[in-house]
């Protein structure tokens, strides 16, 4: 039987059917989860930005209330010292060599120090709907300078300028370690606090996992990777990388690796875009925001100044993107390896 109504009229009526599509109770919670995740991520980025302005945590801490924080930090340092002592015996067994040794070239002021990440605190929680498995690492450096001098005495006598450089780098390194370890403490404390708060409330469900891994440890660089997984509904994984230049004792960002005014960002970014295109061509289930016309503002254009990266064993740079950074959520976090030959000539 033919419906006598005109199509527009039928569609207007059809609206009522459409409105009957049941909306599950969970929908609001899921929207809230999306909102919270974005907020948490933004806060973290803001946090990163302000901390970086200070060389050492002490400088931002003056006055009564903040002194408490300083004291806390002192305790942390004290505990690191204990951890170093405990770890030292093990450390000696591990030779501090790497395949990128060729890059290290000649004089390395901080030579003879062993870099290691140790789990310094564990936090675990388990209930019906909440679970946490957190390892809080600290970077510790075991000074092997004495043995170094015994084995290659002539190096220490090379010249005094070098000796001074060595000392400066040592001081620098001390500050860098404090800064990084302080940052790790702060990030993990905040996440644990958030997790604990929602677990105490007992609403919905959640999980928190933080693990660490030493991804680079050659004669020149040490990189600690912190993997953070926050679950509530669907999970969100993010990473933080801390790289120390053993030569200067400073924490470095991607740009610090290259000569001033070099086109490193263009080179690396274009290389990565090509890799993205190739992957999408190869596998139709792969998707990256590159040449994406629907929402051009989401396209990956260039690397951030503080882009996560590390060196692999062959000296290639591995760029790490968080989930949602360059691809839709289902792609998860992604890594791209940029071959040494792409940037070798512009390294510092």
């Amino acid at each position: 039987m033919k419906d006598p109504r005109d199509i527009e009229e039928r569609l207007a009526e059809g609206r009522k059917d459409y409105q009957k599509i049941p909306v599950p109770e969970e929908a609001r919670a899921r929207v809230e989860t999306g909102i919270m995740r974005a907020k948490a991520e933004k806060e973290e980025q803001i946090g990163k930005g302000t901390e970086r302005g200070h060389e050492k945590p002490e400088k931002q801490e003056a006055g009564g209330k903040k002194n408490m924080k300083t004291n806390q930090k002192k305790i942390i340092i004290f505990r690191i010292a204990a951890a170093v002592a405990a770890a030292a015996a093990v450390l000696v067994i591990l030779p501090n060599t790497g395949a990128v040794a060729a890059h290290a070239m000649g004089s390395i002021p901080v030579v003879g120090k062993l870099f290691q990440a140790v789990t310094f605190r564990d936090y675990r929680y388990e209930s019906n709907r909440f679970d946490a498995d957190v390892e809080v690492p600290q970077i510790v450096v075991d000074d092997m300078a004495e043995e170094e001098e015994q084995t290659s005495g002539q190096e220490a006598e090379k010249d005094t300028a070098e000796g001074q450089k060595k000392e400066e780098a040592s001081d620098e390194l001390q500050g860098t370690l404090e800064q990084i370890n302080f940052d790790i403490e702060e990030v993990t404390n905040r996440l644990i606090g958030e997790f604990q708060a929602s677990a105490d409330l007992g609403e919905s469900y959640g999980s928190l996992e933080i693990h660490h891994e030493t991804v680079t440890n050659n004669d020149r660089y040490f990189t600690l990777k912190l993997s953070i997984y926050q679950g509530a509904g669907s999970g969100f994984e993010s990473y933080k990388f801390y790289t120390i230049d053993k030569k200067t004792g400073k924490q470095i960002q991607l740009g610090d690796l290259f000569q001033e005014d070099s086109d490193y960002n263009e080179r690396l970014s274009e290389n990565i875009k090509d890799q993205m295109r190739a992957k999408m061509k190869e596998d139709e289930n792969s998707f990256y925001w590159v040449d994406y016309e629907d929402v051009p503002e989401w396209n990956f254009e260039r690397l951030k100044d503080d882009q996560n990266f590390y060196f692999d064993e062959a000296g290639n740079i591995v760029i790490s993107f968080d989930e949602y950074e360059v691809a839709p959520g289902y792609m998860g976090a992604s890594e791209f390896t940029v071959e040494l030959e792409v940037f070798e000539d512009i390294l510092k």
């Binding site: 527009e8 909102i35 998707f287």
Partner: protein
């Protein structure tokens, strides 16, 4: 910047049911539609600063949700039945002929119908949501209506 974020958050929480239905109309699966709105809400919040004018928030979020839904379909297309083939149990009510005809439309025509008639959007808003110019939207909508009309003639 913070104001925009607040605005986006309020809009999301106020209209989440619309976004869910819209997502559902693409995937016809509850779990998937939930994933889409969560993901869409996340992106909208993250990109809130890029919102040009506050009056655009409504259409802008629709756009994000629609892109998210399409993305989801593109990724999972193999796992989905042909549109209109197996309507879920709860969809078997009302003007079934019309539903079937709408479901069989290609996505870019179906979303026009949904936005115009079911979400009650103005043509200018639809143009903004879909990032098309107004005359394209108009002519496509009329073409789609003609098609639907013919389709329903045949089905009757």
């Amino acid at each position: 910047m913070v104001e925009k974020e607040k605005l986006v958050q309020d809009t999301l929480l106020k209209h989440y049911e619309s976004y869910y239905r819209l997502a559902y109309s693409y995937v016809h699966q509850e779990a998937d539609a939930l994933d889409i709105v969560q993901e869409g809400a996340y992106k909208a919040m993250l990109k809130a600063d890029t919102l040009r004018e506050e009056s655009y928030a409504g259409t802008w979020i629709y756009r994000i949700m629609i892109n998210e839904a399409k993305e989801y379909l593109r990724k999972n297309r193999k796992e989905y039945a042909e549109p209109g083939e197996i309507p879920a149990e709860e969809e078997r009510y009302g003007d079934l002929e019309l539903k079937e005809a709408v479901d069989q439309l290609p996505a870019e025509e179906r979303e026009l119908i949904i936005l115009r008639f079911y979400e009650d959007k103005q043509l200018s808003e639809i143009a903004e949501i879909l990032q098309e110019n107004l005359s394209t939207v108009k002519s496509r909508l009329y073409r789609t209506l003609r098609k639907l009309r013919e389709e329903l003639e045949v089905m009757a």
